[in-house]
């Protein structure tokens, strides 16, 4: 008991626990996250348990039981934790053990012992067994008894769900140090790389998993993350992409074997079809064509076929487009424009599909970096993003008392004022009369904050004016010159295409100067000199600024009082 609570005795790992796959990782002494393979060499371990005559199978071994032993195989259960039966969608479980209501919770009716009898095993117990297997794989690998973990969960995982998972983990001998959200873990996985440069940016994490897809828009400011908007969807999924391939190959099969039955109408054939289609889908992430091959698909008929990537891209087109819509919707929900997005991290297993990356890439301007295996040689394996982030976080907090971690994650600490506008300086543009706003601290930066800017001065040096102001980002749209219309008979039919042509307008990010905050003068700057501005903004919005010539002595200090409290409408 006590060892569990003594930070010195902790062996902590990161766990990503998905409906489809789970992963385990640890952080090396050098601070590098490494994903651990289980005894079967799997790094993406199917979140599946299966029982054969009382023997428990886990991961890939359990997954192959979906063909012969589906009723005693439990899959897609993570999202059921801490939920009531009436609020779950059992669809992903159609080809494995079905969830049933069990008192106030959910269970699976399975024969999990050598006895010939079905037991109702709760989702909590199933989770405990699954986590025990993960823990044991990690312990075997590390040669140390793992007893603590940081576990990733979706951003919409409720407190009840977290509590249920916490309890199930405890039963498995795992002290949960912290739950962190999956998209934030993905950002941390990238930021923890030694070559990562800290910058203020807006990141979209677009996660196309097995049973769900999740999008998060995250402001990253000096390494601190704020989730601005999220979107969740349970229709645009990897399972649906598998289904697209299943339909395709089932039709191909029926074309060749007219008298044989539809493999989708026979449980065992359906299971074989699904497993093979997932494998084909994965193969198409690497190769431009893949083989489908199932022995005795229906009625003893072996079936082989090939498919090329272009075909799959076409078959999945609706789903890929729908995923892109989810992502752009999330950006809108955050009241941002695609031009505001510096990076899109494509996460989840299906991020390996090149079409997912290219379809998303087309929805963002060139200034947006798309981080996926097919678009970036240095992309992290999208299936491992969550678990790597979790392992990094585990290494950061494992030495703290649980109470300390809880205190730090309390809203007292996490709820923070964020700037509503960018703060920056006014510079000179082409015509000297009008200032151009240059941001120094972006909107959505949590307070307190300190930033330094180095600013050029007129060629001759001399006395300069430094105006601090608020600025708002503005999207400037320039319509292209109307093309001279070709006069032709079928003008009407073409009108659709013309419209989409016209959408190729030029969109740019510009700034509108808002409230001016202060003016300061720096005098006698030498030729070619630069000015350094340091801005400190406190949590109460009071500003403390220091202006000086780079390399010069002294400087000007200024204080801008916080706005008067706007309580009771008396500004």
């Amino acid at each position: 008991m006590s060892a569990e609570h003594d930070p010195a005795q902790r062996v902590a790992i990161g766990i990503s626990f998905g409906n489809s796959y789970s992963s385990i990782a640890f952080t090396t002494a050098e601070g590098k996250a490494e994903v651990i393979a289980n005894e079967d060499g799997e790094r993406q371990i199917p979140s599946i348990l299966s029982y054969v005559e009382g023997e428990e199978l886990h991961g890939g071994q359990a997954k192959s039981q979906l063909v012969r032993n589906a009723k005693n195989t439990v899959a897609y259960f993570r999202d059921f934790l801490g939920q009531e039966f009436k609020s779950i969608d059992p669809t992903p479980c159609h080809q494995s053990a079905h969830p049933v209501q069990h008192e106030s919770t959910i269970a699976f009716k399975i024969r999990d012992t050598a006895e010939d009898k079905e037991n109702e095993v709760t989702v909590s117990e199933i989770t405990t067994r699954h986590l025990k297997r993960l823990r044991s794989s990690a312990s075997n690998y590390l040669g140390k008894d793992v007893n603590a973990a940081v576990i990733t969960v979706p951003t919409n995982f409720s407190n009840a769900q977290k509590e249920a998972l916490n309890k199930a983990a405890k039963e498995a001998g795992i002290e949960v140090l912290q739950f962190i959200s999956e998209p934030v873990a993905a950002v941390l996985a990238y930021d923890a790389r030694p070559e990562a440069k800290m910058a203020d940016k807006i990141i979209v994490v677009a996660d196309l998993g097995g049973a769900r897809s999740d999008v998060a828009v995250i402001a990253s400011r000096g390494g601190i993350y704020t989730v601005l908007a999220t979107v969740h969807d349970y229709e645009v999924t990897g399972l649906k992409l598998d289904q697209v391939l299943m339909d395709h190959f089932a039709k191909e099969f029926l074309k060749k074997h007219k008298s044989a039955g539809d493999p989708r109408e026979n449980d065992r054939a359906l299971a074989k079809l699904r497993l093979e289609c997932e494998a084909v889908k994965k193969a198409l992430s690497i190769g431009t064509s893949a083989n489908f091959s199932v022995e005795s698909l229906v009625g003893g008929i072996d079936f082989t076929a090939t498919i090329n990537r272009t075909r799959y891209d076409l078959l999945g087109n609706k789903l890929f487009a729908a995923f892109v819509r989810l992502v752009t919707h999330a950006v809108e929900k955050a009241e941002l424009d695609p031009l505001d997005i510096s990076e899109v991290i494509i996460a989840g297993g299906n991020a390996n599909t090149p079409k997912v990356a290219s379809a998303l890439g087309a929805a963002f301007p060139e200034s947006t970096t798309i981080l996926a295996p097919s678009t970036s040689a240095t992309a992290i394996n999208p299936s491992e993003l969550s678990v790597r982030g979790a392992a990094i976080q585990a290494s950061l907090v494992q030495e703290f008392e649980l109470e300390d971690i809880e205190q730090s994650t309390h809203p007292m600490v996490t709820v923070t004022p964020h700037l509503s506008h960018a703060v920056g300086v006014l510079c000179i543009s082409g015509e000297e009369s009008s200032g151009i706003f240059h941001p120094i601290i972006d909107a959505e930066t949590p307070l307190p904050v300190r930033r330094i800017a180095i600013i050029a001065t007129p060629k001759e040096g001399g006395d300069v004016l430094i105006k601090l102001a608020e600025g708002s980002r503005h999207i400037k749209v320039t319509k292209p010159e109307p093309k001279p219309k070709k006069k032709s008979e079928d003008d009407e039919d073409d009108s659709d295409e013309d419209e989409s042509d016209e959408e190729e307008e030029l969109r740019e990010k510009t700034w509108k100067v808002g409230k001016v905050l202060s003016e300061a003068a720096i005098k006698g700057i030498k030729k070619g000199g630069k000015v350094e501005v340091q801005i400190n903004i406190a949590a109460d919005l009071g500003v403390n600024a220091i202006f000086r010539e780079v390399g010069g002595k002294g400087g000007v200090r200024g204080i801008i009082q916080p706005p008067k409290a706007t309580q009771n409408g008396s500004a």
């Binding site: 993350y225 704020t226 976080q393 006014l426 007129p458 300069v464 004016l465 003016e519 005098k523 000007v556």
Partner: protein, 62 residues
Amino acid sequence: MASVQVSLPLPVLPQGWAADRDFKPIGHLSDANDRNIEPVGPHFLAHARRKRHKRTFSEDDR
């Protein structure tokens, strides 16, 4: 954080501009939005430390 580099020049000080100690406060910042920051990563930990011990950036630097 690396400093922000601004290559556009600052304007020349207008004739007759004057202020006590060369600084003139003019307006106040607009109200902030309260949002939840994610308790994740090394920079959050530094933030939490500052907040819990009521320390400033420069105190933290020491």
